[in-house]
């Protein structure tokens, strides 16, 4: 399997020095442990500390050089369509740049591929050409999703810690630099003073005892409904149809 991990130009959360983004290094670990041909890809003016990614288990880094402030999307697109990978991994958001976490979605739309967010674990799917993703949900819950490749998956900080850095591996790693596609973007930034938003407290627990509030804050959100454990297909189908009917979504019913 061919996997490309996207790297963004990050900064250390405290020192502000250029640094790889931890969640992207976690994505790299998932890729390395999944196996296959793994490369990392960055589009930006310079690599700087991103070359350190080569010390975290990957041997090849592709760098598309673009001017500072250019939109990286066309360059990434070009690099990814040259030699299309089966799986593209990205962090759920960067750290230190513009960091909207939107780039993977723009890329998915541009490439016409499905995107799945917040993976905490990856393994080979039940059939060839599929991928089993453990998706991190709020409050520590996990959901297992099987996805048909090719696809884009973003990685959640709950994934295993990055592989330890190996200096000599970084030294051995290969960097392939090529000019990217110039795409100046009109940056329209409006500056507004920060306005703290009111904190939402779970309604059910508001005003209740401390224990109940804790329970409400820590329990996985149960959206109501019926839980069927290992149902027969007919039973499951009936339950789904009943649920859709209850929601008013069944046209033929």
């Amino acid at each position: 399997m061919k996997i490309v991990v996207l790297l963004s130009a990050g900064r250390h959360r405290v020192s502000g020095q250029p640094a790889p983004v931890p969640v992207e290094l976690q994505a790299l670990r998932l890729a390395v442990e999944l196996g296959g041909e793994v490369t990392v890809l960055h589009a930006g003016p310079e690599l700087g500390a991103l070359a350190d990614a080569l010390g975290h288990g990957v041997g090849r880094l592709i760098h598309r050089v673009i001017a500072d402030g250019d939109d990286p999307l066309p360059s990434l697109m070009a690099a990814l369509t040259d030699n299309p990978p089966d799986l593209i991994l990205a962090g759920r958001s960067g750290q230190g740049g513009e960091d909207a976490g939107l780039l993977p979605y723009s890329l998915a739309r541009a490439l016409g591929r499905p995107i799945l967010a917040d993976a905490a674990g990856l393994s080979a799917g039940p059939e060839a050409g599929t991928l089993a993703v453990e998706q991190a949900l709020p409050r520590g819950a996990r959901r297992r999703v099987v996805l048909r490749l090719p696809a884009i998956v973003t990685v959640h900080p709950a994934a295993p810690a990055p592989l330890p850095f190996a200096f000599a591996a970084m030294r051995r790693g290969v960097i392939e630099s090529a000019p990217g596609i110039s795409a100046p973007q009109a940056v329209e930034v409006e500056e507004r003073p920060y306005r703290p938003r009111p904190k939402l407290i779970a309604k059910a627990a508001a005003g209740a005892s401390a224990a109940e509030r804790l329970k409400a804050a820590t329990q996985a959100a149960g959206g109501g409904g019926t839980l069927l454990v290992d149902p027969s297909p007919e039973e499951a189908a009936r339950a789904i149809l009943a649920h859709l009917a209850a929601l008013g979504l069944r046209r033929d019913g």
Partner: protein, 663 residues
Amino acid sequence: MIPAGTAFSLLILALAALAAGLVARRVRLWKSGSEARLVSAVGRTISAVSADKLIAGLKALPRRYLVDVHHVVGRDPYAARMHALAAGGLLGGSLLALAGLIPVLGMSRLFWAVVALAFAAALAGGFMVGRRRLPEKPARLSGGRFQRLPLYLAAYTGGGLLVALAGVLPPLAPQALLASFGWLGLALAAGGGIGLVLQIDRGPMRHAFAGAAHLVLHPRPGRFEGERATALAALDLDAPRLGAATPADFPVNRLIGFDACIQCGRCETACPAFAAGQPLNPKRLIQDLAAAIEPNATNAAYAGSPYPNARPVAGVGGPALPLVGAGAMIHPDTLWSCTTCRACVEECPMMIEHVDAIVDLRRYQTLELGALPLKAAPPLMELRYADETAGRPLAARTDFAAGLTLPLISARPAEKGPAEVLLWLGEGAYELRYGRTLRALVTLLLKAGVDFAVLGPEERDCGDLARRLGDEATFQRLARANIATLARYSFTRILTADPHALHALRNEYRAFGGEYEVVHHTAFLDELAASGRLTLGALGQARVTYHDPCYLGRYNGEIDAPRRLLDRLGLERLEMERSGKRSMCCGGGGGAPVSDIEGERRIPDIRMGQATATGAAIVAVACPQCSAMLEGVTGERPEVADIAELVLMAVEAAKLPAAQVLA
């Protein structure tokens, strides 16, 4: 000339030839190592392959053996006497008996009397070897081939004695009896002698020639010239392979060092990780390294105490096969259990450098494989991008001093000239407990009117943790960055309360061009008290015991100043079972707290037990690591106080009426 005497001389000649063959075989194995290298006191590496260096080493051999080695062996007087008798008598007697081939000597009764005397001494030594091991062998000594040593010694030296007596006694006893005496002796000597010589290949006798070669080519010759020589060797980061993966990656003179081990087990009794039941035994580690230089090596021949709670390994190796890993000789947990306290090196009578070997192996694991313990990787990552082990802001390092005057060196007016001292705060400054110590130190500096300054947000981590964990790349980057920062300011000396920073700044930065006079706060406060800049009151009759930090005592030889200072405070000072240069580690060095290898006990608990046993009410410490480790001991125990805190109490007590302090 007695026939048995001549035959005995010929036997010795044959044994010597056999020994030479076995030695040559071992020497061929040593050649699989890389070029022999010497490490200077400041960690610069130079090649040892030159006629001058070899001749200098050979010339120094007798002194190194008789003075330096004896100094260590002599800590156990029984062992020293045993070795002098057994080795001296055996070698002396054998060489003399060889000279019996000269007809004039062979005919002389006086000559045989001298030979008899030498063998009698050797027999007595052999008897001491046996008595030490029988009926019950102490745990630190190895069994197997080592247990058979007294038998061979007795046979060979007893046989030699009989042969020599047959040469002395002729006029006093019947000829036939003496002849059978002589032949019996010869048979015994032949049996014992062959046993001994075969132990050259694998067994206790190997240390005799490997030890001599090790002393000639010792990787740290400075240790014999009175230097502490404890700075780790600077690694060339452009080398094709970083650190040691296989025996062949070790320089030849390090391989010789491993072979010099006599398995006396002094290291294992000194090792804090061994005592805590972590899977490290320095003796076994050196044996595994020594065994691995043979093709198709196994660790099966070892008969000493194992690694405590040993993790399973395949136990196979060879000159070009990996040393570390579950499928090799040494489990990684063994490597990461070490606190780099150097207690094993301090105890080793053969002057083997265990810590250097462990760091070389760690460097390969970290730099080439990235195979670090789970919890050791994040601090190194933070160091890479934030210059601080926990990724805390560098500007927050001075937060401990809120409310105190802490002048920044960058804000120092040029007309004030160089600062008297630059105070290096170190990692401990971020910690609440150690912050109290630093507050005490800063208060004392202010009271004594010392002209001092700090780097503030420009102070980066000194790199000690990175270096001990094998991350030489990060250490060198930090060292160069700190040296560049320090070069911008003028100061006379660096003062620090952290012995780890002291060791890095004083000894290890030299290889990168940073030469500073660095003083530890205990020595500095002692100076201030001696010169009258601080007036100390008496602290009542409290009983105190001082815990020597490894990086101050063993690494830098500073054991007197802290004691002198404590004595000035009017405290009753008690010494622990292990103190000074033979002190026991608190468990906080070498990255051991972040590696966190599981054992049965905690090292600081053991050390605190030793402190409690003295009956002291206070354990005086002088290092942020020791302070953190010992403060972490639960239950009823003496108070932990840094010497700076005690000095501050004494200074404040000088103003109070007596007997009100520490009542």
